[in-house]
């Protein structure tokens, strides 16, 4: 017997079942993705650092440690290296670094400092001009890895300009008086950032630099003289 000619495309039930399947699958996928993301973005604590566990978002106490950005051959991009390199490109969590004269911030102190920095960054609307972890504007430099910008390091232009001898002090000084230091044609306006807020903001920036962003922003480690150099080339 010849096959009976039917039109599945104009059949209501086919579309109903397809829509149910796609909507149901997408809903389950979103629920799964939510839990998957939670695992990725949950912040670590000092215990993780003590146990040499690398978290994507490490503990706030990383402000006590030396932070570098190094090419990891295995992963094919730069990764934040916290407290020294173990020889394989991973964090050793050993080498400490003073942050405003101290390297023994407790979990509570570091959390409070980071919280203050986060609130200040929101209150002053940094994202109006800057980019933080991919969110924000590109009117001003990307702040995701600002802590690792060579311009703030020893011998960098920002330390010379502000007359400070450490990265954190130079950053805090600049944040409080951005109008005093000509960095760029688009100068940062004076936002009335207090000394306390500046310390919090610098802690926030240092911590943000330790977040493993899978190499974002690309090619950051290749910038030699900071933003001015990058823009002029």
């Amino acid at each position: 017997m010849a096959e009976k000619k039917v039109s599945v495309w104009s059949d209501n039930r086919f579309w109903q079942r397809s829509a149910t399947w796609v909507t149901g699958f997408a809903s389950l996928l979103l629920i799964w993705l939510t839990f998957d993301t939670m695992g990725q973005i949950t912040m670590g604590n000092q215990k993780d650092i003590n146990n040499h566990i690398t978290k994507r978002v490490p503990s706030a106490t990383v402000i006590n440690y030396k932070v570098e950005y190094k090419m990891n051959q295995r992963r094919g991009h730069e990764v934040p290296v916290i407290g020294g390199d173990d020889g394989k490109g991973d964090s050793l969590f050993k080498v400490k670094e003073n942050f405003f004269g101290r390297d023994n911030y407790s979990q509570k102190e570091a959390d409070a400092l980071l919280h203050l920095g986060k609130l200040a960054s929101q209150a002053k609307n940094c994202m109006d001009c800057h980019t933080l972890l991919g969110n924000g504007a590109y009117y001003a430099p990307d702040l995701t890895k600002a802590w690792l910008d060579p311009a703030w390091q020893k011998g960098g232009t920002m330390q010379a300009m502000t007359g400070k001898s450490t990265k954190e002090e130079a950053m805090a000084e600049f944040l409080q008086n951005p109008g005093k230091y000509p960095t760029h044609a688009r100068m940062m306006p004076n936002l009335g950032i207090t000394q306390k807020e500046a310390v919090g903001l610098v802690a926030f920036l240092k911590h943000m630099a330790t977040i493993d962003t899978n190499g974002f922003p690309r090619g950051f480690g290749k910038i030699k003289e900071g933003v001015v150099y990058a823009r002029s080339k």
Binding site: V6, W21, T54, R56
Partner: protein, 50 residues
């Protein structure tokens, strides 16, 4: 074609997201393939209907 997974946190979606469009292609395939099954089931049902 398959490369070692090197991300900090291991995840199924991260594994699929290693190449250009690989996650998208996978998810679309998973969503579209059962629709063929639905199509032929419905076709059979319509043909058997009087």
């Amino acid at each position: 074609m398959f490369e070692a997974f090197t991300d900090v946190n291991h995840s199924f979606f991260g594994l699929l997201n290693q190449g250009p469009l690989t996650l998208t292609i996978f998810l679309h395939t998973v969503i579209v393939l059962p629709m063929f099954w639905i199509y032929f089931q419905e076709k059979k049902r319509l043909q058997n209907k009087r």
